[in-house]
Amino acid sequence: MRTIDDFTRPLEYLAPVDKHLGDIVRAWAEREVMPYRRQYDEDWEAHRLIEPAFRSLMGELGFQRMLFPEDVGGWGFGHSGYTATIACRAFEEIARADSGMAVAFGVLFWPLVMICNEPHVNRRLCEELAPMFCDTTAPCFAANAMTEPQGGADIENMEIVGGSTIETTAVLDGDEWVINGHKLWPTNSGGVADLFGVVCTTKAGSRDLDDFAFIFVPAKNPGCTQSGPYQKAGMAADKNGDIWFEDCRVPSWYRAHGPGLDAMYFKEVISFGNMGSTAFVVGALMNVYEILKDFCTEQTYRGKPLKENDDIAGVLADFARDIDICRILAYQCARMIDRPDLYGERWSDEIVAKGRGYKYFACDRAVEDLKKAMNIMGAHGSDRLWDVEKHWRDVKIVQLWMGGKQLCQMEVARWFYECETL
């Protein structure tokens, strides 16, 4: 019998631990998430059901340690040469159960990419921050605070806007940064995160990327406050809210790297975001494949199972084709991040642009395919019992975040066609 494991991945790219880790995450998802996920929408604020599942994956199974070097208590994946490929597998397995959870999990590592990944490990910060994640069995979250009220897309549009719209300021006062500003929407905000990676400017209005600063701020620091979570169309497992920094002080070495380097390595964060987004939608699509297969085998139309009707089979074929293609893309994207020796630096414009392309291709296909899946299912398509509508609601935001689809288009055009003003 065909299963989701029959969707193609380039086998030669996979990490040696792929099967072992994948099996653990799949078993966890099937045991601790899938039986409960239908109630997550109502749990968006309290996370009474969601939190225990996080606790078990991140704290008890220890996945929150993945990226940190071994000698500070981590699993050392940041120098494994397979960081992205391993993450890709974990993300698709979690997203198969719940993409909101996959996002919350993935974003825990997002700011840490700045300091835990070779070749730019910041030893001092790793040592200082690792205990939060590695010396506990309680879940510990980080958040990547980029978006501001006046717009998230511009902040990511570094080539054109050059960080000039960032209003969160960091001023060096002795050996401390003093941070002031207002962020909104980061995954794992809304009261969840213990640590923020904050995109700041050291000179308001400057287009000089030397003034772009990425500074870590523990959530419990004085001057850092968070709102409760926003209510939204889906992704209940990912809380999002406002964060305010008012004269919030952190040690000067909490800046990830320094002038120029923060902006450069931040693009690697974007590359990881592109790979993660692609993997999230693949995971969701694979689960819908499973559901559709059952539904279209059981239910009949014109006296035969739905899947034996040529017109419905045509739609089902498109669905499976897109999963196969998007899954290959996700792993290709991961491979390009993992192998700078072959593909160039993962913070290069090329890798960022190609990743943006993969992300928006996969998201566009997923949004269209999930709409069609719901249409095929008729009166059951919008029924929560089948979970297809949940995936449809969840996946839509993957298409919208990280600057939105149009920013992806502009970056792809800029790179491939050497546009200069977009």
């Binding site: 009949t300 029924d383 509508e389 449809w392 935001i397 298409q399 288009q409």
Partner: protein, 409 residues
Amino acid sequence: MDYQELFPVPVEWLQDVDRSMARTVADWADAEVIAGRLEHKEDYDALLLPAMRKLLVDIGLQSMLWPEEMGGGGLGTPDAAMTLAAVIEQVGRADSGIAFVLANTFALQSAFAIEPYKNEALLEHMAPVVCGKDPVIASLILPSYSKDPDAAAFYGLPYQAAAKRDADGWLLSARDARPQCSGAGAYAFGVACAGESDEPMLVLVAPHLRGFSTGEPFKKTGLAASINADITMDGVRAADAQVLLQGTTRMRGMLAWYYTLCAAACSGALLATYDIIKEWGDTRVIKGKGQVFKENPLVASLLGEIGGKMAMGRLLTFNAARLLSAPNLYGPAGSPPVATAATAAFKLAARGAMEAMDNTMELMASAGYATEWNLERYWRDVKTLESCVLPETVAQTDLARHYFDLKEL
């Protein structure tokens, strides 16, 4: 907002009564729903039910097709299609779930309250309730997929209920049938099933009849106003007088009303979407504060798509309603050209609405996804409408059957 100025429909088809009812309902939309939704979101008891009560009872929508002498509005002619399109569009602007409830209710009423199919006895029988003080809504149990490949079917799509001839009427049975709008105390159900010689028929069933049971309301993507629960019928007895219509043409006629009114619900959701994205596009600034959002050429290209789909959705809706309102010119509602046009109008209006809302959400990014901005509720509602009213491939086959004279499907 003057929507006619923006997205015109042929005004010569609208009568004074259509315009004035649409205005009344537009005021209701602003005062009773839109004003309260920041606080109450989609709360059924706090917002939607009181609003529905006002609309159905106080404004008197639910009895508008009943003869005046019975206490109704006296609008039981095919012209009501235009009135209802104009009214349901405004309801949909406020809440597409309430609009969907109305589409179900009026589709059922179209089977017995509109000339030339007025059923005086039934109208009289129902008048005290429909023209009374409580909201009265109806639910349809239409053909859908089934696990039983041998179930009787309407053009291949199995009926959810089976009817067996009984001495003086019919015995109806169904297990966990999936209706529309059944859960919130629907007063009447229109049950589609195969009658004599497998002729389609629609039977009026009241939920208090013996053998009729309603399951727990289930959760769904959107349309919060249309609470829904599965239905089981164990030998529910229905007299011949409860058979509202018989034959393919009459069934397709009822469905043509249903699809047209669902298109109006989508059109209303699009008007609401317009208001939301207009405000966003006028005020948001991108590209380093240098560019008003809507003046960005890429953004403008999407705004153009969105506006075009809004205009087309409206035109399709009002054109389909016009076909229903003038059977002397276009033939009965159930005739193949009119019924097919209504199916096409709904499918294209719903798809266009969905595409426009998807694009709008792209342009609004997180704000579009946040409950606070309201777009996402219309987005969920319209998707629910698009998928649950009629499965896509079934609609495609219906259209192909008419346009290309299919013989086997």
